[in-house]
Amino acid sequence: MLSRVQFALTTAFHYLYPPLSIGLGIMLVLMEGLWLKTNQPVYHQMARFWTKVFALTFAIGVATGIVLEFEFGTNWATYSRYVGDVFGSALAAEGIFAFFLESGFLAVLLFGWDKVSRPVHFFATCMVCLGAHFSAIWIVVANSWMQTPAGFHIVGEGIKARAEITDFWAMVFNPSSMDRLFHTLCGAWQAGAFLVVSVSAWYLLKKCHADFARASLRIGLIVGLLASLLQVVSGHSSAQGVAKNQPAKLAAFEGRYDTRTHAPLALVGWVDEKNERFLFNVGIPGMLSWLAHGDTSKEVIGLREFKLEDRPPVNAVFQFYHLMVGVGLGMVAVAGLGFLYFWRGSLFEKRWLLWLLVLSVLGPQIGNQMGWFSAEVGRQPWIVHGLLRTSAGLSAVVQANAVRTSILLFSAVYLLLFAVFLYLLNDKIQHGPDAADLMPTGKLAWPTREKP
């Protein structure tokens, strides 16, 4: 249990940052690409400013990511022995293909402005962004394998039993990996886009850096709207996958105990797990059957089909999931409204909407966290769905006291980190973009340099 708390804690904290890195990575590529194309200094200023924010999120993302990789060994040793043959190769691939690419070219992105030419720098930015996406690919593949294991067989018996790989590509393209990857990436793009939107809207409210803010807001809103719309599509497709592959999880998402056709879609509610009842229920009749299987007369499996010990915690999963869906739809509305008024040219007078956009940065973060909670808690009691129980994956030799110590240590360090991160982020935002960045220097200025 303690190890679960620690892993949840360290992952939740970690998961604030990589989506930002991925999303900001895309934004940086767009900004720098626009700068190369149009040669307008404001895009250069944007790229420089957001690079600094990117560096902050990246540093914490890396530092907290190493913790997670090590925790598989320190806290989940039995799990590691059991799945290392399958799961380990995805992690190793992440290291070789993603982390090296990302951290290597980050050097050029951050410190190479005056050392390399424009195209080389743009290439480095693209590689950092690509690396961030690769790391999402491999880690989501690994996690999806825990949700819907494929491409392996079990060798040995008792404590010697372990999963061994039979088909690498079946493992990579396991039934849920592509849906979940797309879903995660959309969430990350939203996180990056709405951070840009939020900061730009704030500048507009404070009436400073107006040109910078307008240009940033436009890119942010477009990416944010696209990502939010795609997110709805991918969310739907993910949920259909869950209905097919992990029916117990879908039943928990929706708090359904009975198996029935024309199942209603719950909008809000509270699950009374003890009496297997559903309180304060508001729903749309038949909608769940239709969403999950494309036909209102199809059956949706309820939790009573599963033994008590094979059910996830229902109410928590229900609430996480519904909060995520609510936030997801809310983001579409916010981005849609923002884009509509931006397009009509009256956004800058609507202070209420600008304030809403400032707050919108929280949306994707809440959505991402809740989505991850519902995915992971919804998989319980399994650590690998249908194969290994979470309680059986723990390290055999680690004492509860040691875990307690490490939880305290990590909590203290992470609280400090978070405070410092917010402080520095705020500082960067207050300071705003550098006016000096309007004029590229050094090698970056080459297109305007006179040829001898």
Binding site: A55, A59, I60, V62, A63, T64, I66, V67, E69, F70, F72, G73, T74, A77, T78, S80, V83, G84, D85, V86, F87, G88, S89, L91, A92, A93, E94, G95, I96, F97, F99, F100, L101, S103, G104, L106, A107, V108, F111, G112, K115, V116, I159, E164, I165, T166, F168, S395, A396, V397, V398, A402, T405, S406, L409, F410, V413, L417, L424, D427
Partner: protein, 343 residues
């Protein structure tokens, strides 16, 4: 020892050795620079030291992450046993690495004296603690740790801190400091450069003392490793390469060839890691006292199929990684200068 038949398990033993050697050579210098950080007093000098490693340190740390990932994939039993057995040690290592990482990133973001001093201490403390812990882990693996018949660790955190392990911890710190001092000298100029040149000699002396004590302790108190050397006298040639490489460092420094001194120090590290690997082979973790429970490259490995897949991944990935790592070091060659993007 029979190296005639090179099977996949042996290949992965070598590859993981290469990854960890890469880590030691690369992150070794930035940990070393960190350990020396507080000895410089002027803010400008500290910034120069930081920016010497600025663009490359996180790439260097990726070697550890990838090494860990490869160990997980290729030898999951070793990964599970060592990481859960050394639980508190690894938690401390993680905290130390986090502090270092964010200290580098945050230090120069604010001008206040107390702010910079706080992160300077975090950076130096984190670097020193990481180096010590890495050495202690190596020491325990060489000395042997109590393992039960399932290959689970049967000791406690305090039992890991025996004198031989601590000695290896200090030796590792000394090695990294020497390596870091040479790297910093290579990247700086002017008064700081002169100062660093002086430190290199002190670091070499410190390292040689530690190294000599470690060698004696190994021959006297770690009979299984000593026996391995006696049975294979040619191992002495690697030790000789190591000694020559170290002896070459002051010579190159004297002639002002910092780059070559750095290469020498790298060669010395390679020789040390090679020696360590050859003395361990085919064991990955020694069980002490019950040698029957050793974790070897066979009983701790993944299936042949996984090792094969991983080899494909490595063959595709590693050359690409090496190519751009080299080009990035090339882009950032030369002495460090502070500008407004610097740490």
């Amino acid at each position: 020892m029979n190296f005639g038949s090179l099977d996949l398990n042996t290949v992965w033993f070598i590859l993981i050795g290469v990854l960890f050697t890469g880590y030691a050579m690369l992150d070794g210098f930035d940990l070393g620079v960190g350990a020396l950080h507080l000895f410089t007093k002027k803010d400008e000098h500290r910034r120069l030291m930081l920016n010497a490693i600025g663009p490359v340190w996180d790439g260097n740390e990726v070697w550890l992450v990838t090494g860990g990932g490869a160990l997980f994939a290729a030898f999951p039993n070793v990964y599970a046993t060592v990481f859960s057995g050394f639980y508190l040690a690894f938690v401390l290592l993680l905290v130390a690495l986090i502090f270092r990482a964010v200290a580098i990133e945050f230090r120069s973001k604010q001008p206040m004296g107390w702010w910079r001093q706080m992160w300077d201490v975090g950076f130096a403390g984190g670097s020193i603690l990481s180096s010590l812990l890495i050495g202690i882990a190596m020491g325990n693996i060489a000395w042997g740790i109590p393992l039960d018949e399932r290959g689970e660790f049967a000791g406690t955190f305090l039992s890991l801190l025996h004198p031989y392990a601590l000695l290896l911890g200090v030796t590792t710190l000394a090695l990294f400091m020497m390596h870091g001092a040479i790297y910093a000298a290579m990247k700086t100029e002017g008064p700081l450069h002169e100062k660093l040149r002086g430190w290199i000699n002190q670091c070499i002396i410190f390292f040689i003392i530690c190294y000599a004590v470690t060698t004696m302790a190994t021959l006297l108190y770690v009979p299984h490793l000593a026996a391995r050397v006696r049975a294979n006298p040619w191992l002495f040639s690697i030790a000789l390469v190591n000694m020559l490489a170290i002896a070459n460092i002051p010579r190159e420094i004297h002639h002002g060839r910092d780059g070559r001194a750095f290469i020498s120090s790298g060669v010395a590290m390679m020789a040390l890691m090679g020696l360590f690997g050859l003395e361990m082979f085919p064991n990955l973790v020694l069980s002490n006292p019950d040698l029957a429970h050793n974790l070897t490259i066979y009983n701790a490995a993944s299936s042949t199929k996984t090792l094969g897949i991983m080899l494909t991944i490595a063959i595709i990935g590693v050359p690409i990684v090496l190519a751009y790592t080299v080009s990035i070091y090339w882009i950032f060659r030369g002495k460090v200068k502070l500008d407004r993007m610097s740490y």
